[in-house]
């Protein structure tokens, strides 16, 4: 087992364990900070998949944006309403959790089944791209490929996303605006 593999398993273990902590901890702020560890570990795993741009985007958007937003929302909400969360019954089979439990078990079942049935080494599309030489190596410049595709093949989706963001911005500005009282 080489060093890269050891690092991979360490990152995977951190991601799983911190994810478990996030959902099981009763301490809301610590959960949010632990979520940061999970996201960082997952970003590390993206690097192993040669998706360094995705890894960094994850750090920028989730750590620099979403997590800070979560913390702000948490800090600006009042303490009484947060204490209310502790009083919700937390048994595994209580009515408010039953649906979630069923869905997560079903999802786990699907994942385990796929994992046991498929031989990942001999999938058709992997073999085909290996034969045609359509593979990425560690030293490839992935960012250029992303840029070219964004500006040619995926231009319409990109523009749609930018219009969506624009709408969100205008909406936010409208909500934040001072109402003139007539």
């Amino acid at each position: 087992m080489d060093v890269a593999q050891i690092i991979f398993y360490i990152l995977a273990a951190i991601a799983v364990l911190s994810g478990v902590f996030v959902v099981s901890s009763g301490h809301l702020v610590r959960s949010v900070f632990m979520f940061f560890v999970t996201l960082f570990a997952v970003a590390g795993l993206y690097v192993f998949a040669l998706a360094d741009f995705v890894a960094l985007t994850q750090v920028v958007i989730y750590v620099g944006g979403v997590l800070v937003l979560l913390l702000f929302a948490f800090m600006l909400s009042n303490k009484e309403s947060l204490d209310g969360f502790g009083k919700i019954s937390s048994g595994l089979l209580s009515t408010n959790r039953l649906a979630g439990v069923i869905i997560s078990f079903a999802f786990l079942f699907i994942l385990v089944m796929i994992f046991s049935k498929i031989d990942f080494e001999s999938l058709n599309w992997i073999k085909a791209s290996q034969l045609s030489g359509n593979v990425k190596t560690v030293t490839d410049d992935t960012i250029k490929n992303i840029g070219v595709n964004m500006m040619s093949k995926y231009l319409l989706p990109l523009e749609m996303v930018s219009i969506l963001l624009m709408m969100a911005l205008i909406g936010a500005a409208h909500i934040a605006r001072k109402e003139s009282h007539e």
């Binding site: 702020v29 610590r30 741009f53 750090v59 750590v63 620099g64």
Partner: protein
């Protein structure tokens, strides 16, 4: 295995550089502030007070770790480490000289930008963990300001990247001097691949980048929480801001991170706009000044010199300008810097389309 030993050596040397730089810049900051306020500054410890910062460090190391009883102990202890590591990781991608970069990656610019944003989380952690309303106020102010100023800084960076045509910091460096691999033009018309020097820097390749650099510089001051944007630690209203409760080595780490951040943003700006490790002297006819002053040791000298100059300007501004109010700070960011940064972005695009 030697390979991995080298990694540790690089990490250790970056850390020792940050430590030495912080020691010296604390002394420099005191002397500069003393000069500006017509005082002498530290004079007691050693000749001209040169040993003053060593005495400070000794004091900080001896101090007791005090954790407030109602503080969240885990977050309180971890926060200085997170803040420091975020800044420390940023240094990984910055090139020092031709062929001398700790980790060469093709998305270096984006990496530095991403990793700096982690610092905001560390500051929130410190503010919340202290369980002190002044700390929390300081942290919230700090993060609000960092998140807002990331936008003009980001657009200023993108407008430089559009001119440089690469996200690899080392490639950006190469294309601002005599070692350029692509055609570079002074002000867009005079080819300066052989001349190099100050004419080949990004700000002189396309003059609108001077405005972009000024935007970046102002925004970077806000991201380091330096005056005039230091409302997170406004002494008159918030005591020490998010680091009010910290003592001893933990405080030293926050302090170290602040000074390291100053150098990081200065060096990042120098790399993107002011030629990085390239020499300011051009080749004039048979006088090959640029050829003489390019190389590994010269590279380190130039990038250090330029960055230290920028750090000195940061200090000069801190001791000259008064602190801004919160609403002034936000309206400067959103109503002045952001539209200007957008204009720079458009100018960069037009520059690329029309001149190349």
């Amino acid at each position: 295995m030697n390979f991995y030993l080298l990694y540790f050596l690089v990490a250790a040397s970056i850390f020792s550089f940050i430590a030495v730089f912080s020691l010296l810049s604390v002394y420099a900051e005191r002397k500069i502030s003393a000069f500006i306020q017509d005082r002498l500054g530290p004079m007691e410890v050693g000749k001209y007070g040169l040993l003053q910062t060593f005495a400070d460090i000794l004091k900080l190391i001896q101090k007791e770790f005090i954790v407030p009883t109602v503080a969240d102990k885990v977050l309180f202890t971890l926060a200085p480490v997170i803040i420091f590591i975020a800044v420390f990781l940023g240094f990984v991608a910055l090139p020092w000289a031709p062929n001398l970069v700790p980790a060469s990656m093709n998305i270096g610019v984006f990496y530095v930008f991403a990793i700096i944003s982690v610092e905001a989380l560390g500051i929130l952690m410190a503010g919340w963990g202290s369980n002190n309303k002044y700390s929390l106020f300081g942290a919230v102010r700090s993060v609000a300001q960092m998140v807002s100023y990331e936008i003009p800084a980001g657009f200023a960076i993108i407008s430089a990247v559009m001119i440089a045509q690469s996200l690899d910091l080392q490639v950006i460096n190469y294309n601002q001097g005599i070692l350029a691999t692509q055609e570079i033009k002074f002000l867009g018309f005079l080819e300066v691949n052989q001349i190099g020097g100050i004419l080949a820097w990004n700000v002189f390749q396309s003059p609108h980048l001077i405005i972009a650099y000024i935007i970046y510089f102002i925004a970077s001051l806000a991201e380091c929480n330096r005056a005039p944007f230091d409302i997170p630690e406004a002494e008159s209203e918030l005591i020490g801001g998010f680091h009010t409760e910290y003592t001893g080595l933990r405080f030293a780490f926050i302090f170290l991170a602040e000074y390291a951040m100053m150098f990081l943003v200065a060096m990042f700006g120098v790399t993107l706009f002011l030629g990085g490790w390239n020499t300011p002297f051009p080749n004039i006819g048979s006088l090959k000044l640029a050829d003489y002053t390019t190389g590994i040791y010269w590279g380190i000298f130039w990038v250090m010199g330029k960055s230290l100059l920028i750090v000195a300007i940061q200090m000069w501004i801190r001791w000259t300008l008064p602190r801004m109010r919160v609403d002034q700070l936000m309206s400067l960011c959103w109503k002045v810097l952001t539209p200007l940064a957008f204009a720079c972005l458009v100018a960069s695009g037009l520059w690329r389309l029309l001149l190349f």
